[in-house]
């Protein structure tokens, strides 16, 4: 079991020849009964318990996708960590990270991609069957002139039942069984007190079953026209009938006044005037979401302006932070400058301060009425820094400059110091002036080192949700627009608004927009990718 020779496989043979005494270390922690093995066993026991718990819970909840994933993941985990052999070794180290990557990066990516082709969102978030039953229940009405039934709630093998007294007969009905006389039941004071085969629920029991009770519909008789009993308080029931009935042949909901709400093919039933019944259901809509994004009539206009601003914001942010950082780096790249380290420490501070906090502080500083900048620096002016579209954009760039220039300063300082002094000396000998030296030596060498970081910075700013959302919230809003898009919204905050803010949550549309951002990021990355050395490193 714990022999060391098995643990190293082929290599141990090589090592064993002529090496003399095997060391204590030869016992593999993972396989012998050492500390490592015990730790591994405990960890794996925990993981198995976690997995089994999840499998049972998923079974109970009917989450089949999660169930299947858990079963597979658990089996793979046990195989990876208990199979012997060298071939499985890399998997032991990769498995934990891969599981998380798989679920929270790759799966969500694919899920985003599928959602983009559906109409998933408010009013379209379940199946057609669920929508029909919900519609039937929502549009029910108490039958005019119908009597009130004093009822008792019973609990039987098939769920809840309602019992009522009619004359001297006790009638009992369930969701599947219309009201019918029950032999041997006893009533007193107009209330049922005993029903064979059922248990009468007291007040507490009724309250506990409130949700189930509110969904209970008991047919009054075999005839549909007499409606269904429904109770809200567990003491009195009324006969209801639905004003909307699903007609399977026509695939439509028919109202009692004769209006036909036909399946409009877009995941909803719509009346003749085009009015849709809520809720609808989730369907695949093909490229409709993408169509809406590019259609000038719906989202096309905002999409173009938001995209332009996103690029402008990202490029200007990088350019401004880089320029200021470079300027300061050159300034401080002078060993004789006094207090140089002190200055550097101060300039480092904005970088160290948590970004979300400094953005909020800036929002206060730039406040029109009470902000420090207007009130003190500008002597009481009322410059609408965050309310005017162009000033808001300017403010964003300013704040992002503040947030980003220390980083650029640090990075360029590093790169500048890495340029060998000899190059400058030989350039000087050739008679190059300061400008020439900067243009022909400093800048090219700097860009080699810093270029990839600028691209990374661009990519980060391209999706810099925090600074937009916390400073301007994407505003000021264009009041003429119905989409809620503001002048400073970038693509990612636009997606956020479509998905979570505003009146409707349109996950399908938001996902489609996300996919477009993915594609933009991918294209930009691919263009710059070839110049990166990262690929070579793999080989």
């Amino acid at each position: 079991m714990s022999t060391s020779t098995t643990s190293r496989d082929g290599t141990s043979n090589r090592g064993e020849t002529g090496l003399g005494e095997p060391l204590e270390l030869r016992h593999s922690h993972a396989r012998g009964f050492g500390l490592g093995f015990v730790v591994k066993l405990i960890l794996m026991a925990g993981i198995n318990a976690f997995g089994l718990f999840g499998i049972l819970a998923a079974w109970a909840a009917g989450s089949w996708g999660i169930l299947a994933f858990l079963v597979i993941a658990l089996i793979v985990a046990d195989l990876v960590y208990f199979l012997p052999g060298k071939r499985i070794l890399p998997a032991k180290y990769l498995f934990p990270g891969l599981i998380f990557l798989l679920v929270f990066q790759i799966f969500v990516l694919l899920y985003t991609a599928t959602t983009a082709f559906t109409n998933y969102g408010d009013g379209h978030n379940s199946t057609k069957e669920a929508a029909i039953s919900q519609l039937t229940n929502t549009y029910e009405q108490r039958i005019e002139g119908s009597e009130a039934y004093p009822i008792t709630v019973l609990s039987g093998d098939d769920g809840l039942a309602l019992a009522t007294v009619e004359g001297d007969q006790v009638l009992v009905g369930t969701a599947d069984q219309a009201l019918a006389p029950l032999e041997g039941a006893r009533a007193s004071d107009g209330r049922v007190v005993e029903a064979p085969g059922f248990e009468t629920l007291d007040y507490a029991g009724t309250v506990a079953a409130a949700t189930e009770l509110s969904e209970l519909r008991v047919p009054v008789s075999g005839q549909e026209a007499e409606g269904v009993l429904r109770t809200d308080d567990g003491r009195t029931a009324y006969a209801y009938d639905s004003t909307l009935v699903y007609d399977e042949n026509a695939d439509a909901m028919v109202a009692d006044d004769g209006t036909v709400y036909a399946n409009n093919g877009e995941g909803a039933f719509a009346g003749p005037d085009g009015e849709e019944l809520r809720p609808g259901w989730q369907i695949f809509v093909g490229l409709d979401n993408f169509g809406a994004i590019f259609d000038p009539g719906t989202l096309g206009g905002p999409f173009v302006s938001v995209t332009l601003w996103t690029f402008a914001f990202a490029i200007l942010s990088v350019a401004l932070t880089f320029l200021l950082g470079l300027l300061l780096a050159i300034l401080f790249n002078d060993e004789k400058l006094k207090f140089r380290n002190f200055y550097r420490a101060i300039i480092f501070l904005p970088y160290a301060f948590p970004g979300f906090l400094s953005i909020l502080i800036w929002a206060g500083l730039l406040n029109t009425d009470y902000g420090f900048i207007n009130d003190v620096l500008l002597g009481g002016a009322a410059v609408p820094w965050l309310e005017n579209p162009w000033l808001a954009r300017l403010s964003l760039l300013l704040v992002n400059l503040w947030l980003g220039f220390p980083y650029m300063f640090l990075v360029t300082t590093g790169a500048l110091q890495a340029i060998p002094k000899e190059i400058y000396e030989s350039a000087e000998m050739d008679g190059a002036g300061a400008v020439r030296k900067f243009r022909s030596i400093t800048l090219p060498l700097l860009m080699v080192a810093v270029g990839p970081l600028l691209i990374a910075s661009f990519a980060m700013n391209f999706n810099n949700f925090n600074v937009i959302y916390l400073l301007t919230g994407g505003g000021p809003q264009n009041l003429e627009s119905t989409t809620g898009v503001g002048a400073t919204d970038i693509l990612i905050s636009f997606v956020y608004k479509i998905a979570f803010a505003g009146g409707t949550n349109d996950y399908g549309l938001a996902s489609a927009l996300s996919i477009l951002i993915f594609i933009m990021v991918a294209v930009i990355s691919a263009l710059t990718f070839r110049r990166s050395k990262a690929l070579e490193e793999i080989n």
Binding site: A57, G97, F104, Y111, L349, L365, S532
Partner: protein
Amino acid sequence: MTSPTTPPTGDGSGPEGSDRAPWAAATPAPATGTSNTAQPPGSLEAEGARVPAPRRRPRAGAGRRFARGGFKHPAAIAACIFALFPLVYAFSASLSASGSLLGSNRLFSEITGANYTELLTDPQNPYLTWFANSMFVSVTTAVGTVLMGAAAAYAFSRFRFRARKGGLLALLIIQMFPQLLAFVAIFLLLFAVSEVYPFLGLNSRLGLVAVYLGGALGANTFLMYGFFNTIPRDLDEAAEIDGASHAQIYWTMILPLVTPILVVVGMLSFISSFSDFLLAQIVLQEPSQYTLAVGLYQFVAVQFGENWGVFSAGAVLAAVPVVALFLFLQRYIVSGLTGGAVKG
């Protein structure tokens, strides 16, 4: 190689070599040739103190002479004021008596700790809970990211297996897609998970950690992979000959040698999860679960400017540990940044 009795951990050249050489080379991703880019920041502070001022006076070109002119200090001071004034303002606001946005404009006119007292005692906005939540989420994420990223980097760096190249390439591509963009799907996924594991689903801090850990491999494996490659494989082989198992080599030999990169990755992961707003806002829905980012935003957004003093106090307190960590680990971070990681 010839002395099999040497324990693998104590290899003489190890620690020293790891301090400098692997460091510089651990940043190759962007360096493209100038692989020592990262080294100078390490010597940033040291240099200024070490070099005595007047030495090569005569060799000054026209530009240099101008540069030495007095404009440098004013420019430096201007930059420092720009960098510092929002922070000073926030500090002053946190001490102001009026507590409103307008009242905070007269810097340091009155000094009181009332905002701090209110911040820590307001039951409506449990600041200490948010703080603890943030710490829990960020520290757990950082530790998890380091453990998983290092293990993956070790596998890619030390083992030769069939899917190795493909795997590295796949990671490189996947890491280009910000997880942030899939937030709708993340929301829906956690919603589904809530039914199975309530403690991992929506409105749970562990669920948020799990989401953050999804990005652990993509973003950091490359940074670590480069560093791991700079640790000579001879060390592993020697240890292997001595009979050390792969787990022993990894835990007792490699990990201590790569500590600098572990610190950087852990730190970056801590910062990015500490500052994340979007995902935290989507996942956490009750004030008792909020992180600082979500809690303080809600707090200040309700009536902007009303609670300004208290908010500032919260901001100052929240920033203290982060800034302290930053300054403490400045050397590591600066080098790690040059290595291609970007603050989130």
